[in-house]
């Protein structure tokens, strides 16, 4: 949660020079895509984590790699919410906006809390940049920013001065601006500079001059905060560490957590991992991460297209490895036919969808949850497939393991849903002990399983799963494919009774997973009452915080967050019916709401947002108030 910087005197934990500290602060760094804002944000995040604050981040960048400098559409932003209390979202409205140029100010200032602080680099507020940002007059001079506090000074010039001794060219020298700004931010929040200095030395190990220049800029920014005779808005704050469970922590993004979870899942299954991928935003990071983990028995394959990526993964699964493929909506659409093949041949496969705004190419770098129908229903024929949805970056680790477990235990492809927000955002993560997860080792068929030494690839176990048979095993030769088959032998069989039996078997197997997953719990609140907010995926943070605030005000509202989106937990229908009202906030036009209505005939109401931005807590709080009015 976020609070106004100067309004909460309680929790003052710093020394006498420090300003009263709020519980939580939201800072947004915004600049040109070439200004290194994501890097600045990432390093500030690390420093925040090392200071023991809880945090959540929201990187928000354009699809263009290098959009023309100074333009409105070229603005890249990184928002971080951190504090001494539990943080679940990247914060509604920033308390501090660092604007590296006029375009960054223009596109971000609207979000800034009234009374919030703007730090602007006057060096970039020149005529050309003002024109590019469509300002007639500099907003720093025309009074249009009066509802905020403005701290404007020439960061560009101060940076050039700081790095002068290193003899860099003007362009290179100005690149150190982000470190100067980071230095100032570190001072503002009473942070240790040493980890950043170590990081810069490592990053520029091959160019020590650049390391020294960046360190000098960082120190200069810090010193500026410390020594400049600034009256007014610039104050130093110290936020006490958040109370967290004891243990070892690190920060993790969703893409990292998915990668590690897949590796863990394969290990728990006792299998090597095969990952077939094709570059697509925002899913590529998983392929990047796994490509570096070859010692874990990971093979990564950058295929010629999305279809080849999944087809290769199915080939690897047929060969006895755990096949995984990953993409985002448009790529998932291309994989649809091959998913059907994995369903038909009943082979384990994990398909990760890092959702983005759609349809078509849509919003490549923005987040949305609009691929739920695609995940649950989006294939030809009756093609049931389990769907697991991660609610946060760290949760993606466990969800990836769960997807692997379902895939191998039920011999089925499984869809794991994350989204652009989860994939890119970072949060503190209590490093899990891999040994604490129950292994689910795979047993391959080694001997004929039918009468008279016959091989029956489609004989089923109690769960309805068929045996996994590796080519290369003597005496178990068999042929399978995407064509309808005999319920036992797997030979081509179009007979009416066979198709009926196989359709039923495929459906029953997936429906039966409901008995093999945890029952649905109430994340916050009670089973039964006036109102339940039912979410899935990355809306967890804002829903959770909004429900918490509403409950503090005495409202009868509970939060239910569903991980197993298909099949749904066995008790979910009864649970939903125990509330007078059910509200489903989601970043689409009401897809999960429709699933719930269809499955349980409950009068679930939608709360939808499709702006490419996550829900704010306030938006959901308002919806709770309206529902209970």
């Amino acid at each position: 949660m976020a609070t106004v910087l100067e309004s909460e005197p309680e929790g003052h934990t710093g020394g006498s020079d420090l300003a009263p500290a709020p519980e939580a602060v939201v800072v947004r760094f915004a600049g040109d895509s070439g200004d290194g804002m994501q890097l600045t944000g990432g390093q500030f995040t690390l420093s925040t984590a090392l200071a023991g604050n809880d945090l959540a981040t929201f990187p928000d960048f354009p699809a263009e790699i290098r959009a023309p400098q100074g333009t409105l559409f070229g603005v890249s932003a990184f928002q971080i919410n951190f504090g001494s209390t539990e943080i679940d979202t990247a914060g509604d409205a920033p308390d501090v906006l660092v604007a590296m140029n006029p375009a960054a100010l223009k596109t971000n200032v609207g979000a800034l809390k009234p009374g919030g602080l703007i730090i602007a680099d006057t060096g970039e507020f020149n005529k050309r940049n003002l024109e590019k940002a469509k300002y007639d007059v500099s907003p720093l001079e025309d009074g249009s920013l009066e509802k905020w506090q403005v701290l404007a000074f020439d960061i560009s010039a101060l940076t050039l001065e700081a790095v002068k001794p290193f003899g860099l060219g003007n362009k290179e020298a100005l690149r150190c601006k982000n470190m100067w700004t980071l230095g100032l931010a570190l001072w503002m929040f009473d942070r240790d500079r040493q980890p950043l200095i170590d990081w810069l030395k490592g990053k520029f190990a091959k160019a020590p001059v650049l390391a020294d220049a960046n360190i000098a800029a960082l120190n200069a920014g810090h010193a500026y905060g410390e020594t400049a005779e600034l009256s007014g808005p610039l104050k130093q704050y110290h936020l006490a560490p958040a109370a967290s469970e004891p243990g070892l922590y690190r920060t993790v993004t969703g893409a990292e957590a998915v990668s590690y979870g897949l590796v863990a899942g394969a290990q728990l299954a006792g299998l090597d991992l095969f990952f077939g991928g094709y570059p697509i935003t925002p899913a590529s990071a998983i392929l990047h991460n796994l490509a570096r983990l070859k010692e874990f028995g990971v093979t990564t394959f950058q295929a010629e297209d999305e279809i080849a990526a999944i087809a290769a993964a199915i080939g690897a699964s047929f060969g006895g490895q755990l096949g995984v493929t990953s993409s985002s909506g448009p790529g998932i659409a291309l994989k649809g036919e091959a998913m059907g093949l994995a369903i038909m041949t009943e082979l384990p496969l994990v398909i990760v969808n890092s959702q983005r705004g759609g349809p078509s190419t849509g919003l490549p770098t923005k987040t949305e949850q609009s691929d739920l129908y695609q995940a649950v229903y989006g294939r030809n024929g009756d093609a049931p497939m389990p769907v697991v949805a991660a609610r946060s970056p760290s949760d993606a680790f466990e969800c990836a393991i769960e997807a692997c477990r379902l895939a191998v235990q039920y011999m089925t492809p499984v869809m794991l849903l994350t989204d652009g927000y989860i994939a890119n955002a970072a949060e503190p993560w209590k490093v899990p002990d891999p040994a604490s997860f129950a292994p689910f080792p795979v047993t391959f068929l080694e001997e004929p399983n039918g009468p008279d030494g016959k091989v029956l690839p489609y004989a089923r176990d109690a769960k309805g799963a068929r045996p996994w048979i590796k080519p290369g095993t003597p005496g178990l030769m068999h042929r399978i494919g995407g064509i309808e088959k005999n319920p036992g032998t797997g030979n081509i069989d179009y007979a009416p009774a066979s198709h009926q039996a196989m359709t039923n078997a495929r459906k029953d197997k997936i429906d039966g997973i409901a008995a093999g997953i945890p029952v649905q719990d109430v994340t916050l609140g009670e089973a039964g009452g006036k109102l339940a907010l039912v979410g899935w995926g990355s809306t967890y943070g804002p829903i959770h915080q909004a429900v918490r605030r509403a409950r503090r005000k005495g409202l009868d509202v509970s939060h239910i967050h569903v991980r197993h989106v298909w099949p749904l937990p066995e008790n979910l229908g009864e649970l939903l019916k125990s509330y007078e009202k059910v509200l489903v906030p989601e970043m689409n036009t009401g897809q999960f709401k429709t699933v719930l209505r269809d499955q349980y005939l409950v009068d679930a109401k939608p709360l939808n947002k499709t702006s490419g931005q996550p829900f704010t807590i306030a938006e959901i709080e308002a919806a709770i108030a309206a529902a209970l009015a």
Partner: protein, 339 residues
């Protein structure tokens, strides 16, 4: 082929037949190809347990159901991608990929290109009948100009692709041609199997229902002598019972047919076939039938390291000296401890 399958396993043709009823049209060229494959497998000492036949969609793609080995009938055009994953998961497997002109050159053209470029160690048999059979007779990407079909009632107007030229252009290191009922087909298959890497074999196949006898100009007995140029490494490129041969016009860098008098092919300037000559291979796959005979047999065979060998080598190198300690991996980087 690979190291494991070099250990010959004793089988007979019968051992490679499944209990499944073969469902091609009576008289289809696919029957002859199936028999040729089933005859070849015992001769190369193939092990049914380590052999996998993989196909896409189309008449040709029913093939795996009829071979007593492991088999996978994938989806339209995607067999090369499936095979890539399968071979990376288990390089010990001896994988045959069966495809057709629609499956491999149209919907799956992209994958055909990449499996060749990567040089995956597999045998690719492309049955070319210049028509879509399973969907009832539409023209295909290899159909000749003017082909009348349900979708081209006035004749097709797009120019056909040449599978062997495509395969060579994509970086293929083994290119061969044969036809369904040829008695030479097993020897071509053997050569393909012996090649380490992606071995591309175009097999002209007679679709007796939708494109009957479209290759008769060179496959019919009466036309064989003038219509077929069988290539053998180290042998002169002769046809028509040694009375004609293929020579190189060095001025125009093109091939020409020359008459051979009294068997003196050297005097006529006939070239000796060299399977490692890539430039000549380009000329041979592009050699137009009509003015020239059809080039058959092993056109090009010059192996280089396979994709899976490179992947394994890199994986081994990257993993050397590292342990797969997940707990350590998770706690990597900058961490902090909450007391």
């Amino acid at each position: 082929m690979n190291e494991m399958t070099k250990i010959a396993v004793q089988t007979s043709l019968k051992d490679w037949e499944t209990d499944q009823e073969v469902r091609w049209c009576p008289g289809c060229g696919d029957y002859a190809i199936l028999k040729a494959v089933q005859r070849t497998l015992p001769e190369i000492g193939a092990d049914p347990a380590k052999t996998v036949f993989v196909s896409g969609i189309g008449c040709s793609s029913r093939f795996p159901y009829y071979v007593e080995s492991y088999g996978f009938h994938t989806i339209h055009g995607r067999a090369p991608a499936f095979v890539t994953g399968l071979k990376l998961a288990n390089p010990e497997l001896d994988v045959w990929l069966v495809t057709g002109d629609g499956d491999g050159m149209s919907i799956g053209g992209n994958h055909t290109m990449h499996v060749l470029r990567r040089n995956l160690n597999t045998q690719i048999l492309l049955f070319n009948n210049e028509i879509y059979g399973l969907t009832k007779g539409q023209y295909s990407p290899t159909s000749r100009l003017g082909t009348v079909s349900p979708t081209t009632p006035l004749g097709s107007v797009d120019r056909p692709a040449s599978p062997c030229a495509f395969a060579l252009g994509a970086g293929g290191r083994f290119i061969a041609r044969a036809y369904d009922v040829s008695k030479e087909l097993p020897s071509v298959l053997k050569a393909a199997h012996a090649h380490q890497g992606a071995a591309f074999v175009e097999i002209f196949q007679n679709c007796i229902v939708y494109n009957k006898d479209v290759f008769a100009d060179f496959t019919e007995k009466a036309n064989a002598a003038t219509g077929q140029l069988w290539l053998t490494d180290g042998e002169p490129m002769l046809f028509n019972k040694g009375t004609q041969g293929i020579a190189l016009d060095v001025e125009t860098l093109s091939l020409k047919v020359v008459a051979v008098v009294d068997g003196d092919w050297q005097a006529a300037g006939v070239r000796v076939h060299d399977v490692k000559n890539r430039a000549m291979a380009h000329l041979l796959v592009e050699m137009p039938f009509g003015p020239f005979p059809m080039a058959l047999g092993v056109i090009y065979d010059d192996p280089r390291p396979t994709f899976e060998a490179a992947v394994i080598e890199e994986r081994t190198r990257a993993a050397a000296g590292k342990t797969a300690n997940l707990a350590k991996l998770l706690s990597k980087g900058q961490t902090w401890t909450v007391e």
